[in-house]
């Protein structure tokens, strides 16, 4: 493998990896406040992309993306209010089935609105053949968009959770729901907000990656399962570890192309998920003790 | 003859030493109780014996066979049966079915026999049923046989749980706080049932918080405090033991 090819794979890996990381963080945000794994997480990414593509036909790109993110956040909030808010201590099995149902409905709705075709946003700078030179390799400026937007999301989220009072309240909810309620925090609103937040970041990631990966009504499922792989790899609930895990999975996937046919790529990363679940269900970075405390 | 022999058993959770170097033996046919204030390590010790927690160090022998390191279902097969502090009956199953499940270790039919029941399997099923009815009779709850177990009154649920535990014809019955959640009348009733069980030749080891129950029925008592055994004697001697009195009064002070 030439060093140039190596670098190309590496960049591709980091690009896809950052998207997986964002999906994983979306899982974590909802998991931390509710203990639910939202199986519809990947659909938020798809919705963000699709909405932005449709809106772009009448609006300039930044506005279309902004609006798409807002609408997706609204949908996220609605999902929580309609399907989840009023359930009293539902079993995990019930929540899994409900969120799977939601993901199917979003996917089918997308199928009927946008059809089966593959769509995409235009490249933010230039077009598909525009490249810039970086360390002797040609890469698309969109790759830089993806990586930097994802980095900014991660940065803003960590500031949000550390320094804003809303973020702190959400963390309090995650740490101890009952205690948070007793301190006067409206845990129900926190849950709604966590759905909005993870819908929002998912949608934004869906927009920046759309020019590279294209968007299709059913692109959410694959993203969801890879995002989950990453979330588990990093230890469920641990968002910083998810970034590292996301990039790791992205790179493994990118380099696997040189060994296994592309068609099997998904099977490879899912096999990896199974392997992790079997060997280290508490994640690469998580501790076994802490994992034992949470009821899965 | 020693039935259960616990030697130098240790268990710690992180920095907390829950059970510290505890040793005692349970002789065949007796009722032995483990008491102690909250957090003394009673329940931990109990879970170590039943295999629900892995042993830190030490040994546990049952009929001179080591049982430490075995899984709960393997320990059950050795002839040790248990009940739970917060009664764990199977929801959606009748009292009778709960007791029938207790016969699991005494019956054999597997998946194939279950799907295609030959006469031998049906015979076994009938045996299980007869035996289970006998136990419901023994514990005076036969009239509830067809009632969903979890819908019974608390004291009756206890009795069903006893019947379920006895269905495996155990040598040793482990009772985890059998009086928990019961009023004084129900507690007296349970005490009577426990002695009745003993009279059928079954050895009983119980962990209990309720002093009245323990003092009335036990042959021997082990007192735990902060994970350590501080006394082991007959009920009358324990009642006079200064250290024990101090712990219980000191516990009341705090």
């Amino acid at each position: 493998m030439t060093s140039q090819l190596f670098f190309q794979y590496l960049v591709a890996g980091i690009t896809y990896g950052s998207i997986y990381a964002i999906v994983a963080i979306g899982f974590n945000i909802i998991y931390n406040t509710t203990g639910i794994i939202n199986f519809a997480q990947g659909e938020f990414v798809m919705l963000g992309g699709m909405l932005a593509i449709s809106l772009h036909s009448m609006l300039p790109l930044p506005l279309a993306i902004g609006l798409a993110v807002l609408i997706t956040m609204l949908i996220g909030a609605l999902i929580e209010i309609i399907f989840i808010r009023w359930l009293k201590s539902p079993s995990i099995l019930r929540m899994i089935i409900i969120t799977i149902g939601i993901s199917i409905l979003i996917r089918e709705a997308a199928l009927h609105v946008w059809g089966e075709g593959v769509r995409s946003l235009p490249y933010f700078n230039g077009n598909e053949i525009t490249t810039i030179q970086l360390w002797g390799t040609n890469i698309s400026p969109q790759v830089l968009w993806v990586i930097s937007v994802c980095s900014i999301i991660v940065l803003l989220l960590s500031i949000f959770f550390k320094y804003t009072s809303l973020g702190q309240e959400m963390r309090a909810c995650a740490a101890n729901r009952l205690a948070a309620t007793l301190c006067g925090i409206s845990t129900k609103n926190m849950v709604t907000f966590s759905f909005m937040l993870s819908a929002g970041i998912g949608a934004l990631a869906g927009c920046v990656v759309s020019p590279i990966t294209y968007t299709q009504y059913d692109s959410g499922t694959g993203l969801a399962i890879k995002g989950f792989t990453v979330a588990v790899l990093g230890g469920l609930g641990n968002s910083m570890a998810a970034v590292a895990a996301g990039i790791l999975l992205g790179i493994i996937e990118a380099f696997s192309v040189s060994v296994v046919p592309l068609a099997f790529q998904d099977a490879i990363s899912i096999a990896l998920l199974l392997l992790i679940l079997f060997i280290r269900p508490h994640g690469l970075f998580g501790s076994k003790e802490a994992a034992g405390l949470k009821d899965f | 003859m020693t039935l259960l022999d616990i030697k130098n058993v240790n268990k710690h959770f992180g920095g907390l030493q829950a059970v510290s170097d505890v040793s005692f033996a349970v002789r065949k046919g007796m009722i032995k109780s483990v008491i102690g204030p909250n957090g003394a390590g009673k329940t931990t010790l109990f879970n170590l014996i039943s295999g629900n927690l892995p042993l830190g160090s030490g040994t546990i022998f049952f009929e001179d066979r080591p049982i430490h390191g075995l899984r709960p279902y393997q320990i059950a097969r050795q002839g040790i049966s248990r009940t739970f502090q917060n009664i764990k009956l199977f929801p959606g199953m009748t009292a009778l079915e709960n007791v029938m499940l207790g016969r699991h270790t005494r019956s054999r039919s597997g998946f194939m026999a279950g799907m295609v029941p030959f006469p031998a399997t049906r015979r076994e099923e009938n045996e299980i049923k007869t035996k289970s009815y006998e136990l419901l009779e023994l514990l005076e709850i036969r009239q509830f046989a067809q009632v969903e177990a979890t819908s019974l009154a608390f004291g009756q649920q206890r009795a069903v749980e006893f019947a379920r535990a006895l269905a495996s014809e155990p040598q040793l019955l482990l009772l985890d706080e059998p009086a928990a959640g019961l009023n004084i009348y129900e507690t007296a009733e349970i005490a009577r049932l426990i002695t009745k069980i003993q009279s059928h030749g079954i050895t009983v080891l119980l962990v209990e918080h309720d002093m009245s129950l323990v003092m009335d029925i036990s042959d021997e008592i082990v007192v735990l405090s902060f994970g350590q055994k501080i006394a082991e004697d007959t009920p009358s001697a324990i009642q006079l033991n200064k250290e024990v009195i101090e712990i219980y009064l000191g516990g009341a002070d705090a």
């Binding site: 899994i96 | 699991h104 039919s109 279950g114 295609v116 099923e125």
Partner: protein
């Protein structure tokens, strides 16, 4: 006293015969095609019902086992071994000598040499059993979300492998699968002349499967399974090897799924990757949920109604959306299944009260 539980099954058999007679009289025999397919899908669903309702384990990968059965049988019975035989392959010659191979004419008059459906079926079942064991041992140690994701992951891997492998026909799947000659005059195939016969083959298979499971649930094993569902800790303390029981149940249901896959593949004359898709797995889970989880009759009825409607195209292009909505509505408002809604108790109790 056990005879009582066979009466509803006997009634079911009568109803199934009645339906066939009715289609004969009204000239709507074509319905039998979808009913035959429905029966095979129902076979899978009742197996899944055992895993979900009685052993309490979710599986989002059962379409995978269906596909393993179907694809294995399809490949073995269609793969032309003539070139290998001509090359002098010892194994193939041995197989031919021992009678597990058959020759038939392709549509283009070419002579094909392939494995007889019976040995193919047995190989497929053994393969499904083996895979269920291998996957089940680690997977069933997981709980909740992890179990759901792991089984989902397994399903997707099977789907991707089917889609990506040349031997499985990629997106086109495998077609021209021959009929399955069970006995000289009993053939599982989509041939119009065999329609009534196949309806009865499918219904009998389903009823036998149903009886086996019904007996199982009523047995010592079934009691242990329900106990595991109720309290795994207590079941374990009563001497039930919970790990092994969950595993065996999983494997048993995988065998049911694989058998359904094998028979339906021969009936349809082919199989495609969509049979392994996630939506199929989710659909089976939905049907078990609607039937009330731990309710074999519920699963059977719902599998019959919903699959039939779906196969008749009643839901149009909203097929998946319908199953998605059903799934959500049931889980929101009737998590114990349609048949256990409080409204039924109201009907049951009011006359008794007076």
């Amino acid at each position: 006293m056990k005879a009582g539980k066979y009466i509803p099954v006997a009634l079911l058999a009568l109803v199934l015969i009645g339906i066939q007679q009715l289609t004969q009289m009204t000239g709507t025999v074509y319905y039998l095609t979808q009913m035959t397919m429905t029966a095979y899908y129902a076979l899978l669903v009742i197996g899944l019902c055992l895993v979900m309702g009685y052993a309490g384990q979710i599986s989002l990968g059962h379409a995978g086992f269906f596909a393993i059965g179907g694809y294995t049988s399809a490949v073995l019975t269609t793969y032309n071994l003539t070139p290998l035989l001509e090359k002098g392959n010892v194994l193939i010659s041995f197989m031919q000598a021992s009678g597990v191979l058959v020759t038939r004419q392709s549509l283009y008059g070419q002579t094909l040499l392939s494995v007889h459906p019976w040995p193919a079926c047995i190989v497929a079942l053994i393969l499904a059993t083996a895979i269920a064991f291998l996957i089940g041992i680690p997977v069933l140690k997981l709980k909740g979300h992890y179990l759901a994701m792991a089984t989902l992951g397994f399903g997707i891997i099977i789907y991707r492998v089917a889609l990506a492998s040349e031997i499985f026909g990629q997106a086109d799947g495998i077609s021209a699968v021959p009929g399955f000659v069970l006995l000289p005059d009993l053939i599982v195939s989509g041939d119009f002349n065999n329609r009534v016969q196949n309806y009865y083959i499918a219904c009998s298979t389903l009823i036998i499967g149903f009886l086996l499971l019904q007996n199982l649930i009523d047995s010592r094993v079934g009691r242990a399974l329900r106990a595991i569902h109720g309290s795994e800790e207590a079941a374990n303390a009563m001497g039930v090897n919970t790990t092994r029981y969950k595993l065996y149940t999983f494997v048993l249901s995988a065998v049911f799924a694989a058998l359904a896959g094998i028979l339906l593949t021969h009936y349809n004359g082919g199989i495609g990757p969509s049979e392994a898709g996630i939506m199929k797995s989710v659909r089976y889970v939905a049907i078990v949920a609607i039937g009330g989880m731990a309710n074999l009759w519920g699963a059977l009825t719902m599998a019959a109604i919903l699959n039939f409607l779906s196969l008749r195209g009643m839901f149009g292009s909203y097929d998946d959306a319908v199953f998605g909505s059903i799934l959500i509505i049931i889980m929101l408002f009737a998590p114990n299944g349609l048949l256990r809604l409080p409204i039924w108790q109201f009907f049951k109790k009011s006359p008794a009260g007076k």
